[in-house]
């Protein structure tokens, strides 16, 4: 398939990114091929594949050059020459933590959450899903990205449809069709981008870096192209008013599916905006800025208000996702390095905390066979440790200082305040509403006296505790000491902001000192990025 030849990396001569996709993909195939009579071998294969991937992603994190803004661990091979399509992968500060999050989340879900039936197929789809998500985050070729973006649908569709709850088929189909609807525009957009770029580049290529750095689009066509991409990402995020698939998909998905969906899948949309929206069409993304800021704010409020009114705990968490992702989009379209750094961090934060919330809701359902808030009461009295875990995760989701959610949300708000003031003012009420709906839900579910049904609610089991701990530890760690993460995200984000600013010809940074040297020294930041790429390109 994609010959994994030696490729250049900043510190590694080993094509680690290619391996990150191949290991789960092959693991998935192997899982399907294991014998039906030995279920433990199936799980073993799946665990090994996902753990190896996790190990590789940790290795990736440790070998990442902190101060380097460009793409690292790049590996590039031609694939379909006739169409100018190549296997071009790499990570920078924006994608690094999403890759690591993906790598770490999957083994936890595979090890910790029991699908109850058809383990073999479930695990096979999980690993295929992991390969798809990994591929999407590392692709630096438009065609390749589309391919992974689209292929992700298939395993997720089967996971929701095969292992979900009562309305699973409806939810899975809705999920599939909504996302495919967006992709329909994106595919035409991708092809049109490559074709139109031929005018300025002289050749047809789908390579993201070449297109972003070399191609020039007429303002109007750039805007059309951006919109074609944006529809796909807006569905995936999901942005109001394209969000209606999300509550259904989340509620009906099996716990593992929900965790993955919230954890990494939604990030494909917000990541797509950064990587393929802002980077590729800076002019157009500035042009649509008011629209997307407005949609983001509507999403924040809509998600929060809808969450407040939910009777189903899982649906509540799902709507809270809509609100949280609104914040991420708000930060994205602020175009300041602070807000963008906050957005990237918030993507990871949301992945961890909402993933953990879904996990907890799943545990409640396992015990009580219901997720109705009105059916649950007084759980704190019978399961105090469980309640404490829920509390920590919930506070992280609300964005309480000291936990991870605060850092990201704060950076977004402060970074956007300078140039998107009124949107921020309205959007910030979402923070308060988040406290409202989550605390109110907590109060109804955990406080009070447990009734007959809830008396026998089982306390957290050790296995579940370990699983939750692996979510709670980073929640606290990232909240108290976010610096290692921020300093890896920031260079790439700054380069992206500078790329937008030089292409648009105006500054967005609230504090001008960040970009002042760049502007005065007269160097083109995109050149710096280019140079880096060449340094690592294989």
């Amino acid at each position: 398939m994609f010959a994994a030849q030696a490729a250049g990396g900043s510190a590694l001569s080993f094509p680690i990114l290619t391996t990150l996709v191949l290991v789960p993909a092959l693991g998935g195939i192997l899982t399907i091929l294991t014998s039906n009579r030995r279920p433990e071998s199936t799980k073993f294969v799946a665990l090994v594949a996902s753990t190896v991937t996790a190990g590789l992603s940790i290795w990736l994190l440790s070998s990442f050059e902190t101060a380097d803004a460009g793409f690292q661990f790049v590996s590039q091979h031609p694939w379909i020459r006739d169409w100018g399509i190549g296997w071009h992968v790499g990570v920078d500060g924006i994608s690094l933590f999403l890759v690591v999050l993906t790598g770490l989340l999957f083994p936890l879900v595979i090890a910790g959450i029991d699908p109850h039936h058809d383990h073999k197929r479930y695990l096979g789809w999980m690993l295929v899903l992991e390969a798809g998500v990994m591929g999407s985050f590392i692709s630096l070729d438009l065609f390749l990205f589309f391919l992974f973006f689209e292929i992700v649908l298939v395993p997720m569709y089967f996971l929701i449809g095969g292992w979900g709850y009562d309305q699973r088929v409806y939810a899975a189909t809705k999920f599939f069709l909504y996302t495919m609807f967006g992709s329909a525009f994106m595919l035409v957009g991708i092809v049109a981008t490559a074709v139109l770029a031929k005018n300025s580049l002289g050749y047809v290529t789908f390579d993201l870096v070449q297109l972003a750095e070399g191609a020039e689009f007429a303002a109007s066509s750039g805007r059309w192209l951006f919109m074609a991409f944006a529809i796909a990402f807006a569905v995936k995020v999901p942005l109001f008013p394209l969000h209606t698939w999300l509550p259904d998909a989340h509620t009906q998905a099996p716990t593992g599916g929900s965790v993955i969906l919230a954890g990494v899948l939604l990030k494909l949309g917000t990541y797509g905006f950064l990587r393929f929206g802002l980077y590729l069409f800076p002019e157009a993304s500035v042009w649509v800025r008011p629209l997307f800021l407005t949609l983001a704010v509507i999403g924040i409020l809509w998600g929060a208000i809808a969450a407040t009114m939910q009777k189903d705990l899982k649906r509540l968490v799902a709507y809270s996702s809509v609100a949280h992702l609104g914040f991420i989009v708000l930060g994205t379209f602020a175009f300041t390095s602070q807000a963008l750094t906050g957005s990237v961090m918030q993507m990871v934060n949301h992945g961890i905390s909402t993933g953990a919330l879904f996990l907890l809701v799943g545990m409640i359902y396992e015990r009580r066979q219901t997720r109705e808030i009105s059916q649950l009461t007084g759980l704190q009295a019978v399961a105090p440790i469980f309640a404490a875990a829920f509390m920590v995760v919930m506070l992280s989701s609300i964005g309480v200082p000291g936990l991870n959610g605060f850092v990201g949300e704060f950076l977004i708000l402060i970074g956007s305040f300078g140039n998107a003031r009124w949107w921020v003012v309205i959007g910030a009420t979402g923070v308060i509403l988040a406290a409202l709906y989550l605390l109110w839900a907590y109060q109804r579910v955990f406080h009070g006296e447990p009734d007959e049904d809830n008396k026998s609610f089982a306390e957290l089991r050790p296995r579940e505790g370990i699983l939750l701990l692996s979510f709670i530890a980073p929640i606290i760690l990232m909240g108290v000491f976010p610096k290692p993460m921020l300093e890896r995200i920031e260079p790439s984000v700054k380069a992206l902001v500078a790329h937008v600013e030089t292409n648009v010809g105006r500054g967005f940074e609230f504090e001008k000192k960040d970009i002042a040297p760049v502007v005065h020294s007269g160097t083109n930041p995109s050149e710096t990025e280019n140079k880096d790429d060449e340094g690592h390109g294989g």
Binding site: I80, G161, V169, F185, V191
Partner: protein, 503 residues
Amino acid sequence: MFAAETLTGPSIPWFTLSPLLALLIGACVLMLGGSLLPQWPRGLYGIVTALSAATSIVLCFFLWDNLSDGRPETIIGDALAFDHFAVLGTISICVAVLLASLTTSDYLVREGEDGPELFVLYLSAAIGGIVMVAAQDLIVLFLGLETLSLALYVLAASNRRREESQEAGLKYFILGGFSSAFFLYGIALIYGATKHTNLGRIMETLSSQQAFPRNDVLLLAGVGLLLVGLAFKVAAVPFQVWTPDVYQGAPTPVTSFMASAGKTAAFAALLRVSVTALESRVDDWRPVVWVLAVLSLVVGSVLAVTQTNVKRMLAYSSISHAGFILLGVEAASHTGSASAADGIASAMTYLLLYTVLVIGTFTIVGLVAGRGDSASNLTDFRGLGRRRPALALALTVFLLAQAGMPLTSGFVAKFGVIRAAVETSSYAIAIIAMLASVIGAFLYLRIMVSAWMEDAEGQDAAPPVPFLSGLAVTAAVAFTLVVGIVPGWLLDATRQVITLAGR
């Protein structure tokens, strides 16, 4: 009698015709051997057919090689064209014969009707189709069309025990007869306008502007009627009404052959006639193709969703696929643009890939439908994932490919035509096509839901998978995935079909 020596016939390049001859020999062997010898061993008829198709494919590869050294040319007194386009079309049709004969063999054994007749009809239909693909003259094209169609009428009605099959055959025959009449009338009018039936001559006549009036009613009416005839054969909306009934009623392997070989032949003919003979009149026929494409895409996808019979669903989906291929034809009509050739290449690639896909899909449908070919409702697919996981997985691959999911050949096909459309700045139609494919995806999802996510009540019997059908399905799945993952070689090859003979 006239002096024979004054009539010098055109020289006949026998080797160039060898794929046709291989099929013809196969047909003769089957017909003679089948009637003179006692009943052959089980499945042998099918194997002989498959072998002659395979021989034909191998010969095509040689011809392809020869062509790469030489130039495209017209043969037998300009009656047939010999170019990569024709060879690729021939390969597609022979692949259809090869796969369909394998599955038909099992079908006939299952129905207890093993005999040579269907196979002879396949081979003669294929000969007709290949003549259509290569026809450089409208009369030759008509001969090919009739050879193909007559064989298909009989094939559709070949299941004597099922009323639906008879009905399908009769319907197809009557409507097909109409369309042939339109087609022939179109030829007559074009001949009246240009004094030629040869595509090359017509092109020359039409492109000499001063000699030929721009808006010749005779010519335009002729082109219109010609398009009606061909649009009927490719099942483009609004000439699609026969498709669902015929596809549903015909024996499933026959349906698969009709959907693949029939479509390939008609599309190749449409492409060749429109981009050679009518090259200077693109502005006249492009809007027609545009409308046909949009209608086929939308109507095909939307109506597919409301069906409950899988064969009917796939019939509508084949209409929607025809819309996609018409996208390539539309792109090919932008002769001013350098990318027009991509339209031809992408449409032909689509046909080859779709041939394999559709036969694979219908084969599985036929296997599930079981004895009497009757159980092809959506509900009959329930629990297939549990009863026959491998078969359900293969079906899933085919359906995802038809929906255009990446890493399958269906995506390569779709991407090709979308790319051709975008390159010629036909953005609107490209977006309509993609949206139609989203609607279409719902249909494939419904079948997958039935197979994987719904449980059968009291249906525990796993449909038997005979060897030859299994072989055909495996080969089709392998092809679908291989082309999906490494499409480079195929695209390199199909790039060459853009030079048509005599243009």
